[in-house]
């Protein structure tokens, strides 16, 4: 199959998947039990029958389902998801877009950092298999991989935001920036950085284990291949064998994982966002599910799906460049 044709077929597949997701999203959230209007009002002083009916009307949920679907399709095609139910009067698109930057800042950068660190640890660990470094790294990566992010986050929060014993509190306990501090330029950037530090650290530590373990195992597999022995027999230096021959071949599975992880960065990091009250898309999703906020849910899941589909598309295309056998068939 020619490269152009291969790419075209993958793009078409991605578009079809996206269209399916768009339709599926509408019905998916309406299957969740509970009436959104009653759910919004329950536990408040406004919870009564008249208000439930009025809210149902104001949200347009008293219209027939086919009509709601048509409105949804029309709105979604113009990327206008309607007003949030829970955050009344707030445009869902606006609410989502305000959370994209903090989410990318936290999840994208921590994913990349954890991937780099994990790869480096995995490479050295695999290359020096059985060494003290390997044993230590294995223990560490297995521990951080299996460790609940929530638990680690709480510990980090208590240690570095609360301070322990004589060690003072270093970072803020939560949020994206200090409200009311009137900071601009570099000072604002520093303030954002300070708020980012702890959740970022938790995510980097929590994610690096996965990359490290996969890279190490993949590297060990490749190290036993015949071409490595051939290279040694030809007298190629060990470092060259590692970096020029083993790592590029062992990188493919990790590369897939990194790209797929990047596809999920818009989904945020729910538990870490929760612990550090970080205003990311993950927390917004939880809020939207809790209140059956259809406009927010539809917007969020379309964004998540699109990100994963695009990441897959990029992975497919790049894979075909890295490994021509994929394109062939």
């Amino acid at each position: 199959m020619g490269t152009r044709r291969y790419i075209l077929s993958k793009v078409l597949q991605a578009l079809l998947t996206l269209a399916f997701v768009m339709v599926f999203n509408f019905f998916l959230f309406r299957v969740i039990p509970g009436d959104p209007a009653a759910l919004l009002l329950r536990g408040t002083a406004a919870y009564n029958q008249q208000n439930v009916e009025q809210v149902t009307h104001d949200l347009g949920l008293d219209r027939p389902l086919p009509q709601q679907f048509l409105v949804y399709v029309e709105d979604t095609l113009t990327l206008h998801f309607g007003d949030s139910y829970f955050l009344q009067g707030q445009d869902a698109r606006q609410v989502i877009s305000e959370r994209i930057w903090p989410t990318l800042l936290l999840v994208a950068t921590s994913t990349i950092a954890s991937a780099i660190l994990g790869l480096i640890i995995g490479i050295y660990s695999g290359w020096r298999r059985g060494s003290r470094f390997d044993v230590g790294a294995q223990g560490f990566t297995l521990f951080v991989y299996s460790m609940p992010e929530f638990w680690f986050g709480i510990l980090v929060l208590m240690a570095f935001a609360g301070g322990v014993g004589p060690f003072p509190s270093l970072f803020p306990a939560g949020g994206y920036a200090t409200p009311g501090a009137d900071l601009t330029g570099l000072a604002h950037a520093a303030d954002v950085l300070n708020h980012l530090a702890l959740p970022w650290f938790v995510l980097v530590v929590a994610y690096m284990g996965e990359y490290s373990l996969i890279m190490r195992n993949s590297l060990i597999d490749v190290m036993n291949d015949d071409f490595v022995m051939t290279a040694r027999a030809k007298g190629v230096r060990e470092k060259q064998i590692l970096w020029r021959h083993i790592v590029p071949n062992a990188f493919l599975p990790t590369f897939t994982l990194v790209l797929l992880s990047l596809g999920f960065i818009f989904g945020g990091a729910i538990t870490v966002e929760y612990v550090f009250s970080y205003p990311g898309l993950g927390l917004l999703t939880v809020q939207a599910i809790d209140s059956k906020d259809f406009p927010l849910l539809q917007g969020l899941f379309l964004l998540f799906s699109a990100a994963v589909i695009i990441a897959n598309l990029i992975a497919d295309i790049l894979y075909s460049r890295l490994d021509p056998r994929v394109r062939a068939g």
């Binding site: 009002l41 002083a45 009067g89 305000e98 306990a173 409200p179 330029g185 000072a187 303030d191 230096r237």
Partner: protein, 646 residues
Amino acid sequence: MRRGTRFQLAVALMLAGAFASAAMAQVALAQETTGATGSTADDNQKVVFTWAETSEPDTLNPMAAYSAISFYFWTASYHMPVDFDVDFGAQQPSPEFDGFDSGLVTDIAYTDDAMHFTYTIRDDLVWSDGEPLTAQDVAYTFNLYKNNHAYLPQNYLTLLDGDARVVDGNKVEFDTTEPTSLYKGAAPYMYFYILPQHVFEPIEHGNCPDDSDPCNPKGYGNVPSVSSGPFFIAEYKVGEFVRLERNEFWKGPEPAIDEIVYRIYKNDDAIATALQTGEIDFAHITTPNIFNTLKTAENIDTMVGSIPSFSEIGMNTGSAYQDKEGAFVPHGDGHPALTDVVVRRAIRMAIDSQALNEQVMLGYGVPGDSIIPPVSVAGARWEPTGADKLGPDIEGAKQLLEDAGYVDSDGDGVREMPADSVDPGRPLDFRYFVRTSEQTSIDAAPFVSEWLQEIGIKTEVTALNSAKLTDVINAGEYELFSWGWYPDPDPSAQLALFKCDQRPPDGKTYGNNDAYYCNPEYDQLYEDQLGATDQDARWEIVHQAQKIFYEDSPYAVMWYDPIFSAWRSDRFTGYIPQPQPNGDPLEGWGGISEVWLSLHPVAGSGAGAAEAKGISPAVWAILAGVLILIVAIVLIRRRRTVDEDA
């Protein structure tokens, strides 16, 4: 230089550059906040009061909001017609603030038939954009709420006959469809806020000051707000904070704080940490255990207060067995035993509210009985005493069931329905639903189940999320459930929930009356209290309604909820608990709350300015230096190795 070394050098330089940038940014941050963080209250720096909870406002527009948290922003910015005082009575001018009166209405006149009311409106208030607040604003707001079905306010305007009108320039008059004491002003019944006509009238015509789309009175975001109180809502960042600034046209007592910042945290651990490190000055906590840790913390004061909120065990009093009436058609599959008031009373008697409060609420709540909580408008609550009290009495409950023919004939520990009942011999085996989102409801279940087991009633406990439980209740497919209510200080709205016509009607549609309680005598009492023209007579009727409800026991109220408050004792002082002496220190109910005028920094405390926190530039610089050092060592070692190889 080899390619690999060049790459490593580039990475090292990038990292060092990043750290250097971070250090520079921190220097900039330190410079910009030096004045703020180092200031004292005497330095004429901006004084900011920062407080926190886990709640997110649904909207800051009184037309559409229903979440309790939104009221804290309105108590600093909008007037009510008749304001609550700290004990939920009608506000009187306060001697502490030079006779400051937070209400809007200076005089109330009504006809003998109590169907025509005239409110005189004060003329000394100015909106935060400089426009005067007049009777026009008051009449307009009444009609705006009533004619646009404002979710919370319209509840208080259902008796109005036609629109409110302005007469004599400074008076608002309106008629009611029936005689009533609700609008006489003896108690602050109309729990809503007066809005600026000059802002909301254009919005009604689609002209919003912001980019609200669709632009209508409910959809309008109301930020920044035009307010009549000492502060206006200046900024709202969803999921992050709400910020209020001073209203420069405010003519009342001058507040000692310049800004109020409400920060939204997602969990109590973070709130407790922020409070201990001084990031925030005040917090409401929801978790008793975390609250306990703050009780012994340095420079932190705590208070457990009461609020008008309760948790109950609801019983299906007969969704499947009651007669068809109006929109209501029998539905569901609830156990027929619960149609018998004897069984419900026995359950009420078996549940030990005192023990639940001690075990589940760690003693911080108040044992429950009536559906009108202790924190209500003065005089509204009825409380069972002496012979009226139903338990806790396991033996009494057993005897009650035994006498009514509910006996355990097969010796399996579970009683069966009497021979002359609709379903003879059916065991008293009940489904009992708790809420996954409410830990205390889950924690109470083992105690309740054990007590019911002791009196011969078997229960199967299932935890559901709120959405699913709402469906189960609407379908009438349950025997027992656990949930709660947050009533108004005035009892009328709470009593209305349990009228016959409030039952979920058809198995799918929502209804307030989740216990399917239907007693025509209760309904009549509700109507009578609405129409009572004398306040004392009204309370008498309200008491009767509560007593009947308690004796019929569709609910077993477990406890009245506490409110946990904690604040930095070294930062601000001047909190005003509502109700006195142990309530919400931020005086969360009413129009203009005096707490926003009385809060002031502790002398020499350095309280106030929003403090941007982080590690010092020196630490960032050290980190950059260490990184460069490590890279340099690695490069030197590598070069040596290469030289040796060569």
